[in-house]
């Protein structure tokens, strides 16, 4: 702000203080960079995605190539070979494609449904809110695994997309609750009130005023839910309810279980990959939660 009085009186004007040109993204990134753990998490996540995207390039062997069966890790086969003789390292790298796809797709579904329900519930309130929340609470407390198993058993086809669908559909309660409480808070703010007094329609208020503010919360939850969904897919597949044709890490674990514990490498390495993926997303989510927190200034 210019020092008007100084300018008027002819003195040398103080330097103009420009408003910071930093975009929200760069502020968040700068805060994120300060936490080593968050950066590590981000690095892990990027690494996993790179594995998935560059799988054909990185993997040392072709995923269908078979050689010696069930060999422990050697220099030739860093992760050993599985029961059919396929190279484990290759399988793990290709597995990232399926597992990551499942995580991201299921979370997308979860966001869409949870957002919709939470939005309606939080914004409009009243009886609709009551009913929706009762149902949400109930589904929230139901045991996840039995629920998923029952739902999957209903579908005759064991396809990876079924799993994505089921997980995404049953993931909404948590997201809906959080979205709803955010909506309840934001609904009462002055800027919303101002918008309403200017005649904004409900839709406009929701999309242009409330939604941008809850974006950060949704991102944090989504990140950590990706880890959860990857885990649940692996669990379901491991128990035998998965899709054997889509070789995610869970499928590798399921196959390896048969030869357990003698061929220990068949389950160790896919599980390790699962672990690091979960760790990465959790670290990133934690870091994002701290970085997106508007109340703390960047140092």
């Amino acid at each position: 702000m210019t020092n008007l009085s100084a300018a008027k009186s002819g003195e040398k004007a103080e330097e103009l203080v420009e408003p910071s040109k930093a975009t929200q993204l760069s502020i968040v990134w700068r805060k994120l960079r300060f936490s080593k753990l968050a950066v590590a998490g981000f690095g892990l996540v990027v690494f996993m995605f790179m594995l998935a995207l560059l799988a054909p390039v990185i993997a040392p062997y072709d995923p269908d190539w078979t050689g010696h069966r069930a060999r422990p890790p050697t220099m030739e086969h860093l992760f050993g070979t599985d029961a059919r003789g396929r190279d484990m390292l290759t399988l793990v790298v290709y597995g990232a494609q399926i597992s990551l796809y499942v995580g991201v797709a299921a979370v997308t579904l979860e966001i869409l449904i949870g957002l919709a329900i939470g939005m309606v519930s939080g914004y409009f309130g009243g009886l609709v809110d009551e009913v929706l929340m009762r149902i949400t609470d109930l589904v929230l407390t139901l045991p996840t695994l039995p629920l998923l198993i029952v739902a999957i058993v209903l579908f005759e086809t064991r396809s990876i997309h079924t799993i994505v669908l089921v997980m995404g559909i049953f993931g909404w309660p948590f997201m809906a609750r959080v979205v709803r409480s955010e909506f309840l808070t934001l609904r009462e703010t002055t800027f919303v009130e101002a918008a309403r007094s200017m005649g904004a329609t409900h839709w406009r208020i929701i999309t242009r005023h409330i939604l941008p503010n809850i974006l950060s919360t949704i991102i944090v939850i989504a990140t950590m839910d990706i880890a959860w969904f990857i885990f649940w897919e692996a669990t379901l597949t491991f128990l035998g309810f998965g899709d054997p044709n889509s070789p995610s890490w869970g499928v590798l674990l399921e196959r390896g279980y048969i030869n357990f514990p003698s061929a220990w490498w068949i389950i160790t390495f896919p599980g390790l990959a699962l672990f690091f993926a979960s760790l990465g997303f959790n670290l990133l989510g934690d870091g994002l939660r701290d970085a997106l927190d508007v109340t703390t200034r960047s140092r």
């Binding site: 109930l138 695994l145 029952v150 880890a227 128990l239 674990l253 279980y257 220990w264 959790n282």
Partner: protein
């Protein structure tokens, strides 16, 4: 924090409890309808499933249908099933022809045992460490504990279960592989039998404790941190109370309240975690049972089991609601 309840307050509490109890019945009915319709949406003709692998001839299929009442309209089938359930008859398994209720009741105890042991150990460790971490905020101990918790939280439980079997059972030989107790061995005293059973309990419960403690620790720590920032803690300190009294008597009690809420409502989550662990360790509980019958598409048993689980969850929620209403005088009885 504890205020004396006025007469009016007592009336409201009692009406809340009564109202809460009444809501249970329609909820249970709705759940039963949901379970029934979901199972019946399953593709595949039950008559064929019962008939066996070979597709039964028309006449046999008709007979099966009549016998199991499958030719009735769906709502009638539902009412018949419901009336049986209310009388305690959950039907008979497709596959083993054993009464479902008997099969289930024998499996409840192992699951409860596993969950209880893991739960108690988790809570104790998480609360102790969580409080210490919160009190020593910003210290190395806190940072390390938080990191360890995050790692523990990210470890896939079934994978670490397999690794621990590999390590402790196969390679070190400290604990038995899987199972509930050593079969076919006669023990000199019941105590020896008990010790043997314990050796089977260690690995599965440890795996559960790992994941649960990590998650609970984070909750306790963040809850304590938030409570410690409150004004009444400052007041307590200003009054000259010893730090230990401040922490335990004032901060901890309030910090634990959201934890208790979470724990009370998370029986479903506990059950899920226990299910896959039970499966791996061949622990004869409900979780493993569910996996087996789901794999075999044993629909009547699946329905019965789902109903039982739903009832368990509902009862747990009910107790949690009531206990919470009694414990916290601040919440409104809506």
């Amino acid at each position: 924090m504890h205020k004396k309840r006025s007469l009016v307050g007592l009336l409201t509490l009692r009406t809340y409890i009564i109202r809460r109890l009444i809501v249970v019945i329609p909820t249970l009915l709705l759940i039963s309808i949901a379970i029934f319709s979901i199972i019946h949406l399953a593709p595949g003709d039950p008559a064929q499933t019962i008939g066996g692998r070979h597709t039964p001839s028309r006449e046999v299929a008709e007979q099966i249908r009549k016998r199991y009442g499958l030719d009735q309209p769906i709502p009638v089938q539902y009412l018949i099933w419901l009336s049986k359930v209310l009388r305690g008859d959950l039907g008979y398994s497709f596959l083993s022809n054993a009464p479902v209720l008997d099969m289930i009741s024998v499996k409840i105890l192992p699951t409860v045992e596993l969950m209880l042991v893991a739960e108690v150990v988790s809570v104790v460790i998480a609360v102790v460490l969580g409080v210490i971490a919160a009190v020593k905020h910003y210290s190395i101990a806190d940072a390390t504990a938080s990191l360890v918790a995050l790692v523990g939280y990210s470890i896939p439980n079934f994978w670490i279960a397999l690794i621990s079997i590999l390590f402790f059972s196969a390679w070190l030989g400290w604990f038995p592989f899987t199972g509930y107790s050593s079969v076919g061995i006669v023990f000199p005293t019941p105590f020896h039998a008990f010790l043997d059973h314990l050796s089977y309990l260690v690995l599965p419960s440890s795996v559960l404790v790992l994941g649960w403690t990590a998650y609970l620790f984070r909750m306790v720590r963040s809850s304590m941190l938030e409570v410690m920032r409150q004004d009444y803690i400052l007041t307590a300190r200003a009054k000259g109370l010893r730090e230990r009294v401040v922490v335990y008597k004032h901060a901890l009690r309030n910090a634990l309240l959201p934890i208790i809420t979470y724990e009370a409502y998370s029986i479903g989550f506990l059950l899920s975690g226990a299910a896959v662990i039970e499966h791996i360790f061949a622990w004869p509980g409900l979780g493993r049972f569910m996996v087996i019958i789901a794999e075999r598409r044993d629909y009547p048993t699946l329905m019965g089991l789902s109903m039982i689980i739903a009832i368990m969850v509902l009862v747990a929620n009910l107790c949690a609601d009531i206990a919470y209403a009694i414990a916290d005088p601040r919440i409104s009885y809506d």
